[in-house]
Symmetry: C2
Subunit: 208 residues, 2 copies
């Protein structure tokens, strides 16, 4: 089971590290962090550096490809070499997946045309530019393409993929292993649940 | 607001990256990843490398110190230099915090004596070795020391700390920004909720 997670500058780290923590623990998993080239990648906060073990073009094949989101998605969408590598790997995957605005990268790679998909709630309409139909569900499955909503949703997506791959018991053990029994202090994790003021705060922050 | 997150070999990355994703976005936050020495740190899966920007002894002071957990906690607990640095920084913190078995490190540093504390559910009894009273709550506050349960609980803890520091609206905006509206596929994230078979699977995996 070859799992490849893309890293790129100005990505949102939790988009990648949430699902990584589940997927790396699948039986026979071989998980590789890959970027345009091997080496350090600085996340969107500027204070975290993750190491890419390989360049994406060095990866022969992937069973599962995961594309995280973050403000750096725009540069990746415009990087024809990277979107071509994503298309190439997608041809052989069992699952091609994204978290947050990683789905916009899948869109730019031409993989979402005619499909329902999700992304960070502030960016849903942007999916239409790639011929996708935005949906606010947390995890959206369209054949082997699975897109997840903003940032923390990657954990939910990874557990669902684990369920498909190794069944309920093992997936439940992974969930219990990371003690994923969420108790957020507020019930405001989606725009429908948050106050209008808080929604505006996030929109303003994302626009900067 | 100086925030310091400890990195060490064989740590569990999500313990650190979950709260990082919240805390780094606090107003005026200056977040630093620090290890015994600056440089690369390989997480417990063997397939992820995070960069420590500084050595812990180079950090003059921290307003918030966060100690993640993972199988590498045992080596840190036995590292007198590191536990001394943790004690030194703790003297000046507003919050000294841990996720998962990071609380065992706080215990080894002598900071939990007589306090209620939590950790990964498989390790609760180990807290007694440090004079702490184990409790299975997800986030445990004892004055300025806050301990969180296994792995994913660090996100809940960080949002609670955000609430204390910057109030409900900003904390809610952080929660909405990471779209933290959890929808795990199962309700099995604590040992009370999981089947006995799944509990045994995790215990066996943790014992290896």
């Amino acid at each position: 089971m070859q799992i490849v997670i893309l890293l790129y500058p100005d990505m949102t780290a939790l988009d990648a590290i949430g699902p990584y923590e589940v997927l790396a623990r699948l039986p026979e998993a071989k998980l590789t962090f890959a970027a345009e080239a091997a080496g350090p990648v600085v996340a969107d906060t500027g204070c975290l550096t993750l190491e890419a073990e390989r360049g994406l073009s060095e990866i022969a094949a992937a069973d599962l490809l995961l594309i995280p989101g973050g403000p750096g998605d725009a540069a990746v969408r415009e990087n024809a070499k990277l979107t071509q590598e994503i298309r190439r790997l997608h041809e052989g995957t069992r699952f091609t997946t994204s978290v947050c605005t990683g789905s916009l990268i899948l869109g730019a790679a031409g993989l979402l045309s005619g499909l329902r998909a999700t992304t960070h709630w502030t960016q849903l309409e942007t999916l239409r530019e790639y011929g996708a139909e935005p949906t606010a569900e947390r995890v959206v499955e369209q054949g082997k393409i699975i897109t997840a909503a903003g940032v923390s949703s990657g954990i939910d997506m990874a557990l669902r993929i684990a369920q498909k791959l190794v069944g309920d018991d093992f997936a439940q053990a992974l969930q219990l292993g990371i003690e994923y029994d969420p108790q957020p202090p507020f019930d405001c994790g989606s725009p429908e649940k948050a106050t209008p003021h808080v929604v505006e705060m996030v929109k303003a922050a994302m626009a900067r």
